[in-house]
């Protein structure tokens, strides 16, 4: 019997070539894409799940009630971790950790490695196993470092016999020798902490100077709780600790008008589960764990499967009409409902299995381009676990059961005589229409999302950031020389090049450079009895000139003034915060009884991520401090040539260090990589969604036209014109798109509005986005359906009537 079913199924599939092709192509694409998207989403969700202690490991954060509102800080002072361990019950292990690049030298080979400065218990909390060397404690003393396979290959070219070798690291301004004590496995790609070398925390350049300082905060803290201790208990345990150690801060916050939280406290330690860390954001003043991105990807995968399933159901029901005779005949020959259901379901199963198989092959082939395009490190190996595979199999089975089973059920239920006469129950179009409406609602939703997302990206890209990003190159100063002297040397090298307009430097980058590092530096002080917080930036001469910053008042740092190391330039936000009528009269006493005076005010510019509001900023110029980035402004012409000239100059100045210079507009683009990835996913999702919906619509329009051949013939015989008939047929479909538009628009508006709230400045959600999406969907539907209907309408009526 099975053989007979398969034979019939195969021949039927061959007979309805167009529909079979439409179904199989659609399902294959959908499965391939759904597999890739699911993989990406599962990979994202698997972040930090590999730690054996993931259920008891946490990151510490402090919520502060400040005069400016609630703020969250994950940066902690150096003495905090030992004090916590000493004074607060419930901590099993606690570790400090800082991610930084470090310059490593071995034999005359010099390169920069991604380093993690950690306390030894870091390895008790987290699962980063060693390959060679001491597995219990990869960092036995403060003269040893652990290196990963990747790092070892970079510096030694091999992982063999590297234990015991001595390398030197540039710690602060000095080079120090360290012994390789262990080789670690590379951190998994779904680890939110990635490193190539681990260095003892106590050798960090800031460690000694900050050892007993509670006001200098620069590193995160991770901890593992004792088994029987809950998060709530721990947080409660920290209350007296906080009151004691943060007394000064709390008092000045109260003085400046901070409002306590619901529990009446000003500072409270909290724990973020380590598995939530990748999804946590603290920008709004509260810890927010947000898995929207992976869930959205899963959602798109689901939606795509839904669209093809809807196509499959629609086409199979419509095609069933052609098979009514067969159903009837089989019934008169003694087939019972169950047998018919099984037969038709088997046919669906066959198509699904075939498509799934091809989908798997295609997703495998597309894996690499997909990873590049969507900027993910996901791989099948990371995702394929028994549980996931079973779940995925179950999902596919359910989809097959519903999409394949529903038409089968419908057909097997038909009465024998009805089937023989070739009449299907009327009213079944309701399901078909609802499915089409849903498909198009989804398509419109995705199109709107695509338009708004691209709108926002364009908005951010074209926004005037307040500085010149097209003509300025920033170069990370990753060599051994002191920053100020490198900038000076570069200035010297480039001074005869007419295309190089100006050279300067700062201790922070604008946007995200090719070194991939983002940092911010904040400081606070009391000004006239109020606490003031500002971002701090150390710069070199010509900073404003190089970046085309506009001065609102006063002047920039100038070589002609010897005292400029005690001068400050502030931005407008800072001036507003200080609240003086004449900002140039401000003098600020800072630590060590040094008094700085403000000499200029620059117009606000986006020195941080564009999604953020412009915060107060203070510029310093002190040759005793360091610069980490050089900025070079070039003339608008010969840009490529100037870039090469700068590279050459760099190689003369820092022959050992790699040149990582890039234009600021590239840097800015890099900061919204996430948005771009999201845009790529949504755009491809909506294109695929539309395409698949159109395949379905096309097939349905073909069938509907075939069903109404007689009606078309009659209408034409009594005098209807081609255009009126075509309009009549098309109208029905466009009505469905209209309903879809009405359903989709409010939903799209709601979600996009929510999403745009994440950006301090964003595009306005103009109706044009929605109208555009609606028109686009209508146009696509019109083209899809129109070709069939016009053809049917212009056919000779005599011919169409004869077929009856």
């Amino acid at each position: 019997m099975l053989k007979n079913y398969l034979k019939i199924a195969w021949r039927n599939l061959l007979k309805n070539k167009i529909f079979t092709l439409a179904n199989i192509v659609g399902l294959t694409c959908a499965f391939a894409v759904a597999i890739l998207l699911t993989m990406t989403a599962l990979f994202e969700l698997s972040y930090d799940q590999f730690h054996e202690n993931k259920d008891s490991a946490y990151q510490l954060y402090l919520s502060n009630q400040t005069p400016r509102g609630p703020e969250i800080s994950v940066s902690n002072p150096v003495p905090l971790a030992p004090a916590l361990k000493e004074e607060v019950a419930g901590i099993k292990h606690i570790a400090r950790s800082v991610s930084e690049d470090v310059l490593i030298t071995y034999n005359s080979k010099e390169l920069s490695l991604d380093a993690e400065y950690v306390d030894p218990s870091f390895f008790d909390i987290f699962t980063y196993p060693t390959l060679m060397g001491n597995s219990k404690n990869p960092l036995p003393n403060n003269n040893s470092v652990g290196i990963t396979e990747k790092g070892a290959k970079k510096i030694f070219g091999t992982t063999d016999n590297v234990i015991g070798k001595t390398v030197s690291l540039k710690i602060g301004r000095e080079e120090q020798p360290f012994t390789i004590a262990s080789v670690l496995k590379d951190a998994p790609s779904n680890s939110s902490v990635d490193f190539e070398i681990v260095v003892p925390f106590e050798t960090h350049p800031e460690y000694l100077s900050s050892k007993d300082r509670w006001d200098s905060q620069f590193h995160p803290i991770y901890l593992q709780l004792e088994k029987e201790v809950t998060v709530a208990q721990f947080e409660k345990n920290t209350i007296p600790f906080t009151a004691l150690h943060y007394k000064g801060g709390i008092e000045s916050d109260i003085r400046d008008g901070a409002v306590p939280d619901a529990d009446g406290r000003y500072k409270q330690f909290h724990l973020m589960p380590i598995t939530d860390r990748h999804f946590a954001s603290y920008t709004t003043g509260a810890a927010k764990v947000d898995r929207v991105f992976p869930l959205m990807i899963l959602g798109i995968a689901f939606v795509i499967i839904f669209i093809v399933s809807a196509n499959f159901i629609n086409m199979n029901i419509a095609l069933g009409e052609k098979r009514l005779k067969e159903i009837g005949m089989r019934k008169t020959l003694g087939a019972i409902k169950k047998q018919l259901f099984f037969q038709f379901w088997l046919e669906s199963l066959f198509v699904f299995a075939l498509s799934l198989l091809m989908g798997m092959v295609i997703s495998n082939l597309l894996l690499n381009p997909f990873k590049t395009l969507f900027n993910t490190k996901a791989s099948f190996a990371d995702v394929i676990q028994p549980g996931v595979v079973i779940l995925f199999g179950l999902a596919i089975f359910i989809v097959t059961l519903i999409a394949g089973g529903y038409p089968a059920l419908l057909m097997s239920k038909l009465g024998t005589l009805r089937a023989l006469k070739g009449k299907m129950e009327v009213g079944k179009n309701r399901l078909r229409n609802s499915l089409i409406v849903l498909q198009f609602a989804i398509a419109i939703l995705l199109i709107t999302g695509t338009l708004v997302l691209h709108g926002q990206i364009e908005f951010m890209r074209n926004k005037d950031l307040g500085y010149n990003k097209e003509q300025v190159i920033s170069i990370p100063l990753n060599g051994k020389k002191n920053g100020y002297s490198v900038v000076e040397l570069l200035r010297d090298e480039l001074k005869n090049n007419p295309d190089v307009l100006s050279v300067s430097g700062a201790d922070n980058n604008l946007g995200k450079g090719r070194d991939g590092s983002l940092s911010s530096s904040m400081m606070g002080f009391d000004y006239k009895g109020r606490g003031v917080v500002t971002n701090a930036l150390t710069v070199d001469f010509d900073y404003a000139k190089t970046l085309d910053l506009q001065l609102v008042a006063g002047r920039m740092f100038n070589r002609d003034f010897a005292t400029d190391s005690l001068s400050l330039v502030i931005n407008e936000s800072m001036a507003k915060q200080l609240g003086e009528e004449d900002p140039l009269s401000i003098t600020i006493p800072m630590d060590d009884n040094v008094t700085y005076s403000v000499i200029g005010v620059v117009k606000d510019y986006n020195f941080q991520d564009i999604s953020r509001k412009i915060q107060p900023l203070t510029l310093f110029m002190n040759k005793d401090w360091d610069l980490y980035y050089a900025y070079v402004k070039v003339a608008p012409k010969n840009i490529a040539k100037s870039f090469d000239a700068i590279k050459d100059a760099w190689e003369k100045v820092e022959p050992q260090a790699e040149f990582l210079g890039s234009f600021l507009d590239e840097n800015v683009d890099r900061t919204f990589k996430r948005e771009k990835t999201m845009a790529t996913i949504i755009t491809s999702g909506s294109i695929l969604g539309i395409l698949l919906s159109c395949i379905g619509l096309f097939a349905i329009s073909m069938l509907v036209v075939a069903q109404r051949t007689k009606e078309i013939g009659v209408r034409k015989v009594v005098g209807a014109s081609v255009s009126s008939v075509a309009l009549l047929l098309t109208k029905d479909f466009l009505k469905l798109v209209g309903i879809a538009f009405v359903i989709a628009t409010p939903i799209a508006w709601y979600f996009l509005n929510e999403w745009l709230q994440n950006y301090a400045s964003h595009v306005s959600l103009s109706p044009l986005f929605f109208i555009g999406a609606g028109l686009l969907a209508t146009f696509i539907a019109f083209v899809t359906v129109g070709t069939r209907t016009v053809k049917a309408a212009s056919a000779n009526p005599v011919k169409s009537l004869r077929t009856e």
Partner: protein
């Protein structure tokens, strides 16, 4: 007695009115009979045939088939009954286009759960009997109308039914092909198969041993 219809009524409600399709039909059929049902279009011929074939339900009356009360049976049992004892022949043949002659013949046997080897033997027998061995691998579309109807009858006969129900079996055929089919029916009848046919043609009706005339759902 093969089957018995007592006071069978069938109606539909249309616009508040009850329209009778069959009205007080009483009929007894003995094994070995060859009955022709005649009447103008819309007189209820096909409906009566469908009721006898258990493809269609009736609203009132009793129907006994081989001592089973059909009106009391559930659908599944009814299906078993007609699967076992009744073969259908249609005006438009109703062969499955996707299956070859051989496979079309095999299909009823599949639903009766015959084994593969038995099915093969029975199909081969039937092909032989109707001299269509050479056509066994052709699809219906490759045959003439007469040949298709031949296959249709062979399919109806393959599971050895007691009763063949034929709804205008020659309606789509030319006169020569029609005559051949009627000759075949006559021969089958002589071999012991009971046949009930619906026909428009006086000439074809003459092949039967008894003629039933219907008018507006009534026997006249």
């Amino acid at each position: 007695m093969l089957l018995q219809l007592n006071n069978i009524f069938k109606w539909v409600n249309s616009g508040g009115q009850r329209i009778f399709l069959l009205k007080d039909i009483n009929l007894e059929v003995e094994e070995g009979e060859f009955i022709s049902i005649m009447g103008p279009s819309g007189s209820g011929k096909s409906t009566l045939l469908n009721v006898i074939g258990m493809l269609d339900a009736f609203d009132e009356g009793e129907y006994n088939f081989l001592d089973e009360s059909v009106h009391d049976l559930k659908e599944k049992h009814r299906a078993n009954l007609y699967k076992e004892y009744i073969g259908f022949v249609f005006q438009s043949y109703h062969l499955l286009d996707e299956l070859t002659v051989q496979e079309n013949l095999e299909m009823p046997l599949i639903y009766k759960k015959f084994k593969g080897s038995e099915r093969k033997a029975m199909v081969a027998d039937m092909l032989d009997r109707f001299s269509i061995v050479g056509k066994k691998d052709l699809f219906p579309a490759q045959l003439s109308g007469g040949q298709q109807q031949l296959v249709g009858i062979a399919r109806a006969l393959i599971s050895n039914p007691k009763l063949i129900l034929a709804d205008e079996p020659t309606g789509n055929l030319n006169s020569k092909q029609g005559e051949e089919i009627m000759e075949l029916f006559k021969q089958l009848n002589e071999e012991g198969v009971t046949i009930i046919q619906v026909t428009h043609s006086e000439k074809n009706a003459e092949y039967g041993s008894r003629i039933i005339n219907l008018l507006d759902g009534r026997m006249v």
